[in-house]
Symmetry: C2
Subunit: 146 residues, 2 copies
């Protein structure tokens, strides 16, 4: 049975997934959505404060979403999300980096009759360091009659 | 000369850009980064609360970033962003929708000697309605000696 609102407890944590990003994917994403020089142009990136190509922060967030969908949401009765608070890009993601995700339930409250809102701290890690952190406001289904 | 921290005034607003999203792009993005049924599977999407395929919120944010880069950031002395606050997905984005962006400078403060942090309310619009809203924390370069 898929995970519903009732199955979640504040304080629950999970660490999961693995997504290795290539130079080609960093450039391809950025050419479409974030064509700043330090994301698409290796020479300009080398001269930037980053010292080399780095992934767009939106790309990092999107890869993190992929980890969440594959690792958790496929088994959960989720109904989308209201949004995200406090997203911070804390360290650059570079070609060859392998991302994992860590989640912690920080708050939950009913959201109408049918849904529950669950605030989830989502951290993206590379080699144990947090490179991106955010709080997702996720809607879960509630079991009938609870 | 590129836009620097000194050129920006709290209250400044701009509306710009145009990005039309196709069904193919919605599915392609979501298959890679957010493969939930209402983003990738037309039949499942028709039965979902959305009543049809909708773009991943991360896709909407990424398209908004593209509008920002093309419309503003290419002419600006920006040094990346610290993160995003209060991102809200307010209405679904569907195949064929054309997105525009609206920005408003809501706060600015020096950030060390070299940078200034500028908080920018960024709204994504479809047919005049706000479909996504966030506050970007953007670092701009400061002019020497100011």
């Amino acid at each position: 049975m898929p995970t519903t609102y009732e199955d979640l407890t504040v304080g629950d944590t999970e660490t999961f997934g693995s997504y290795t990003v290539t130079r080609e994917e960093i450039v391809e994403f950025a050419e479409q959505y974030d064509p700043q020089p330090f994301h698409v142009d290796p020479e300009a990136a080398a001269d930037s404060p980053f010292g080399g190509l780095v992934a767009s922060g939106w790309h990092t967030a999107s890869m993190t979403m992929r980890l969440l969908v594959t690792g958790i949401l496929q088994e959960a009765d989720t109904r989308g999300a209201l949004g995200v608070d406090e997203m911070r890009w804390l360290a650059p993601v570079r070609p060859g980096d392998t991302l994992t995700a860590r989640t912690e339930i920080v708050e939950k409250e009913p959201w109408g009759e049918e849904y529950g809102k669950v605030d989830v701290r989502i951290e993206t890690l590379v080699d144990g360091d947090v490179v991106c952190s955010m709080v997702g406001l996720v809607l879960f289904g509630r079991r009938e009659g609870e």
